[in-house]
């Protein structure tokens, strides 16, 4: 049993980027406004169909966006490194600019620590679009 536990720990560690072992408090299900429930994201039988939830799942997936390692995302334990994700639609009236920030943050700030999600192919183009839809819901 202990062995199995170790294996599980090992796998989850390997799959993590930044090694952040977040024990997420499940948030109530809602399409947008806050982080989706991890149960909703991991439901293989019935995966979320709306892009906002899909985007939210990418944002909190430690192997994908893991945005909450740095940004405070409502509804989930988050790091304190960067801005809080809030009123995004007001702050980013131009969707293309928001997308560009996520695609390659070093364009706006060459010494940023934010990973260049599109440029380094951490996320696909389609995934970035969904992330944009989700954060605009915050």
């Amino acid at each position: 049993m202990q062995k199995m536990f170790k294996i599980v720990v090992k796998i989850s560690f390997a799959a993590t980027w930044l090694g952040v072992a977040a024990f997420m408090a499940p948030a109530a299900f809602a399409a947008g406004g806050e982080a989706p429930d991890s149960k909703v994201c991991n439901d293989k039988e019935n995966p979320p169909k709306d892009v906002v939830t899909q985007g939210g799942c990418i944002v909190i997936d430690r192997t994908k966006g893991n945005c909450n390692a740095c940004h405070q995302v409502p509804g989930i334990i988050s790091g304190d490194i960067a801005t809080r994700f809030e009123s995004m639609a007001q702050r980013w009236p131009d969707k293309a600019k928001l997308r560009a920030q996520i695609f390659d943050a070093s364009k706006n700030n060459p010494i940023t620590v934010m990973p260049p999600f599109g440029k380094n192919q951490i996320l696909t183009s389609d995934e970035i679009d969904k992330v944009v839809e989700f954060i605009l819901s915050l």
Binding site: V20, I77, D80, A82
Partner: protein, 286 residues
Amino acid sequence: MKKIFILLSILSLAAGVMPTAMADPAADLKKFQDYFKKRFPTVPFDEFSNGMYALPGLESYRDQWMLYNEFPPYELGLSLGKKAWETPFKNGKTFASCFKNGGKNIAQGYPYWDGTTNKVRTAEMDLNDCLKRNGESPYADLDKDLEARVRFAQLVAYFYSMSAGQRLKIDVSSPGAVKAYEDGKKFWWQRRGQLNFACANCHMDLAGKNLGGNQPLSAALGHTTAWPAQRLEWGRLETIHFRYITCNQQIRAKPMKHGSDIYNNLQFYETYMSSGLPLTAPAMRN
């Protein structure tokens, strides 16, 4: 918005200590240590040897750490390391015969530049050399053989524990040493991996910040003083090179080999940057 500005100013502070073309370790050292003294003015210098637990805002982590220090989980590993150190070789000699002062109070000078082999030498290399010279087999295959690496980490931990409290003093006076230092320094500042991080991003720019809300980042000042160390997550003593490997993996960069010249030089650079701090190895870490 205010946060962005604070962040930007922190980042540009770090940019201010970026390496210049001229190799001047003593000037680098002053800039490096001054950066942390200014960033964390309330932290007494020696406290930096305690890694992330020294930093303001992480008091709850420190309280927890003090609790596990009452019965340190590394004690068992350390006692196995002591046993390995004291057990005679087949020829009757012990490790103590290979080291100045029987191995006591010398670890503060490690790693050191060796002008004869033209390489940085770590405690691990000298311990393995001792084994070979006495007809014993060295600890090998450390990237793949977890058990060998952990047994080695236990021995190295005991070696360092015999110098506990000694202040780091690394000699970078020869041109060869400066070259190795430069090599380590370059690695330290260079961004790498799919996530595009330099060591300096996490352990200078973001020192004291909390990644993901449950993984605070230590200041680089004090790095190496506690190693070999035991993390709760690992449940075993590990080498500093294994820590480097895992830091590289976190950012999806290809890790270097355990014991490779580049990691030796990185360790040489990092240790020199912590000059004057007392050794605390082995220690517990998050």
